[in-house]
Amino acid sequence: MTADPAQFETFLQQYQDMVYATAFRLLGREAEAEDVSQEAFLRAWNHWDELAGSATAGGWLKTVTRNLCLNHLERYRNRWRFFSDLKSSDASDDDEGLEATFAAPETLDAEVLTGDQRQLLEEALLKLPANQRLALVLYHYEDLDYAEIASRLKVSLGKVKTDIHRARAALLKKLQLRRQELGV
């Protein structure tokens, strides 16, 4: 391999935040996100002849990171499936009606989060059940559609929709409660 390490290091500096952020959102754990990020860059090094100077290098790296994360989670899930207490798609009806309590459409354009609200939302996102967080992140950050998510996670389309819906409702309810506390 005749790759230039200095050039690769520049590439690494350029994309490390994107790779790490993607991994962290999907995995929800710092140490695992760092491990997966390292593996993504090592793979990039193995394909450096094709990636160096390529305009699609960022997209390639993001896809590889996402696939590594999903593979990592699948291995983890398989390993602990027996002990897992992940909820099935027929979870309780506790969340029924949540969506009806949110703001009217005219408030959408003006909705800008404060620093406090962003922090609250970040924490709430991390506290979501793993299946809900993963589906939500794949939909809203990785731009996969429901069918792709169901296929990648090997679950039914209905479960994906339910998980994403419940995750959205839970996050927005937290946000709304905080605003009510602050009298906003």
Partner: protein
């Protein structure tokens, strides 16, 4: 976001709720969630990531060729190893097919006569164990099997309880 992916794919309506209204609620929820989620800042990579990656690359670069992945071996070595592997496979197949009797006839490899003797000893041991097992009354089997089952289930149950306890305390 104009969430086109949500169009026509809303969740089934609750009893007594008009489907159109239900769809609108779901769309609004999706749109709001997308707007607020996209406002979250991307988490920055830790300062240790880049040095870690470069250190790993340096470590791999120092590895002697045969300790690297096969795809990174020198081309000559890859060809040689391919031929060598093919030779080993072909030789093994030949040995299995027709070479066994010839090997036994060779005085220099007389030690292979020990293999049937060893197999015979193993067979004798197995037969003895089977005889002992057959002579045991069925009650013993029942008690032994039950004890084994209880121990196995107990271990599994304790393991599961411990796992869930650790997990719930971590959350």
């Amino acid at each position: 976001m104009n969430d086109e992916r949500d169009q026509g794919r809303g969740l089934p309506g609750r009893p007594g709720t008009a489907p159109a209204l239900r769809q609108t609620e779901t769309d609004l929820l999706a749109e709001r969630a997308h707007r607020v989620l996209r406002q979250l800042p991307a988490r920055r990579a830790p300062a240790t990531l880049a040095p870690r990656v470069m250190a790993e690359l340096a470590r791999r670069a120092k590895l002697i060729w045969y300790r690297r992945p096969w795809t990174d071996w020198p081309e000559l070595m890859r060809w040689l190893s391919t031929f060598l592997l093919a030779g080993i496979v072909a030789g093994t197949l030949r040995l299995i097919e027709g070479g066994w009797s010839a090997t036994k006839a060779s005085p220099s490899l007389a030690g292979v006569e020990d293999v049937p003797a060893f197999l015979s000893a193993a067979e004798t041991c197995t037969r003895s164990l089977l005889t002992v097992a057959q002579s045991l009354p069925s009650t013993w089997w029942l008690v032994g099997g039950s004890a084994f089952g209880i121990i196995a289930l107990g271990t599994l149950g304790l393991g599961t309880a411990a796992w869930r306890l650790v997990r719930s305390s971590a959350q």
